[in-house]
Subunit: 371 residues, 2 copies
């Protein structure tokens, strides 16, 4: 699937993970890319990776406007940069890739900058750890890239942002800034705070006690490894929607805490059962491997000695049996020299796979195969 | 590592995932195992897997006491079964494998049963999906198995439970029932409810909107797939500790919601930053691959076409380069025919691995390797 061509002149302001990845992708699509960063060493680093040519924003003159200015900076830095670019007509279109959409728009209007050529975007891609050295041209391939026009945005500015998204291999999805912010408060900002609050609630425990936790807690708190300063800006920039989302999460938990204090009536039992049931319903909405609803899968768990090549040998055995993996997880218990590979396969394939792997000498833990 | 022998007579009451797995492990260790279940078909199913001999509890007479009665039933079913077994001296020692420890003890005392020979246990193992068909003799290998004596428990009853745990390959860890329940409210019961509440908060969204979620939300809500009836019993059986844990989680979220409503002062920014920072601190306590604190790892992300054998080929290439994987995750974006394998390796190995895999034609997405 070759990406669409995009042969204009692009200025990327902010050369972290996302900005540098856009720059790499745009260059592959044919763009001429200029790189700017508040820390010139970061722009140099991105340039050394082949992302484009470093410039100081002050050196740029609007005599020959750029086709696009893309701002990949923390939320608070976006409005002043966008306003300056719009007022000086530095670029025909100005966009950003922030996790919040309404706030920069409002701020840019406060700067009395013309917003007709300003259309924010939000590529749904990233990692917990940032920085240009983790960037990649294909970070956005087949990922959604939400584009957020307002009624007053010029149509061709919106089209230009969507074209850049496509040139990065992404699938543009249009949504109003308000709808975006309400949705991502719920899909991203509140889950981040929930994971952080859960992980923070462990901080006073002894490490030896926390070592008794099962694998579920690790999954539930994985995103709590994120950047505090960045998240403080994201959350405060989307504060109203996040506050509502936090209440939607905290209130059932507080209600449940009330019901569980003192003598516990059967109503509390019903309350917990209902919450877990609604959680299952919400979880079924999450995308599965190929988009849409998750398909049912069966899990075959296999013990894998912790030696180079054993996992590869297992997966080769699976492939040789003609079974395609829907998903794969590898789990290690604390202090254990053996890992467990959880092979998710179509339910109809599970029993045969377990039998065949057992016959080949693999220790299949589940589905249970009697000794 | 052969497990310890255990050659006594064991009655397992409740032949779900955990009970059947204990039965399979005990048989391998040399035990004679009897199986009982409220649903005789479940006991027959476990017996057909080689877990032991099905019996009806009423048929058993205490003329020749069993060495151990192990109750692997939902929390509410444990006390009456334990009390009956203790009063009739059906087994020399009675134990259970429930997620809550104080409640069954208190209930058994209410039944006026002698508790000197009653010592609860909690093996830290399991899966979201239960049932005997997922059972395995090595489910407990190298996992912690918390054993919970009280000051009045006979020492040799505690030793007998620990010996059975060792025979299953587990590592027994002693803890008072009260300490256990306080700790697991925080490590397990509250995280379960948090994941359920978060997933439940999505239930009114359109599937097309939820499809825009990143991978973090899937991890954070993974354990929300659990059994509502079972969790209702666990949570209400440990209600005081869970209520306290829920408040510890909900209160910072509510405080944050207050701070984020209306005009947002810098104090709100500090509050978020502080929460995310404390979350990172808590997260550092979670066990890494080999127990203890997680070691720093670098992640090399590689695109893997969705075809049988490609992942195996990748891991074989990694092994051929002499690099050991600390962890492995496979991620698929919605609607995407290419998956991404995230290879966690020692930081010192990452750059060389990325270079070598690229040289072999793999598409290494990160750390960024310029085109």
């Amino acid at each position: 699937m070759p990406n669409a061509r995009w042969e204009g002149r692009l200025l990327v302001v902010g050369t972290g993970l996302i900005g540098t990845s856009v720059a790499l992708a745009a260059r592959e699509a044919g763009a001429q890319v200029l790189l700017s960063d508040a820390d010139p060493a970061q722009a140099e680093l991105a340039a050394s990776m082949g992302a484009g040519q470093p410039v100081a924003m002050g050196e740029l003159t609007p005599d020959e406007p750029l086709d696009m200015v893309l701002i990949a900076a923390p939320p608070r830095a976006i409005p002043p940069i966008a306003a300056a670019a719009l007022r000086s007509k530095l670029g025909r279109t100005v966009t950003h890739v922030g996790s919040v959409q309404t706030h920069p728009l409002v701020e840019v209007e406060l700067f009395q900058a013309p917003v007709r050529r300003f259309a924010g975007g939000h590529p749904i891609a990233g990692r917990e750890q940032g920085g240009p050295t983790r960037a990649a041209a294909d970070l956005f391939v087949e990922r959604p890239w939400v584009v957020c026009p307002t009624p007053s945005t010029d149509e061709d500015a919106v089209a230009a942002v969507a074209a850049l998204a496509r040139a990065c291999g992404a699938r543009p999805v249009a949504m109003s800034p308000e709808a975006h912010d309400l949705l991502f408060a719920r899909l991203s900002h509140v889950p981040q705070l929930a994971a952080s609050a859960l992980a923070a609630s462990l901080a006073d425990l002894a490490a030896a006690d926390v070592a008794l936790a099962g694998g579920g807690l690790r999954d539930t708190t994985r995103i709590a490894d994120s950047d505090p300063a960045l998240w403080a800006e994201i959350v405060t920039a989307n504060h109203t929607a996040v506050a509502a989302g936090l209440r939607r999460l905290a209130e059932p938990l507080s209600t449940l805490a009330d019901a569980l204090e003192g003598d516990v009536p059967d109503a509390a039992l019903d309350l917990v059962r209902d919450l877990v049931e609604r959680g299952r319903a919400g979880r079924r909405l999450l995308p599965g491997r190929h988009g849409g609803s998750p398909e049912p899968v069966a899990v075959v768990q296999v013990a894998v000695p912790d030696e180079p090549g054993r996992l590869a040998a297992l997966l080769q055995a699976v492939a040789a049996l003609g079974v395609n993996l829907e998903d794969l997880r590898v789990e290690h218990a604390p202090g254990q020299p053996v890992g467990f590979a959880e092979l998710s396969v179509q339910p109809a394939k599970a029993a045969d796979l377990a039998r065949a792997l057992t016959a080949e000498g693999w220790l299949v833990v589940s589905p249970g195969t009697p000794g």
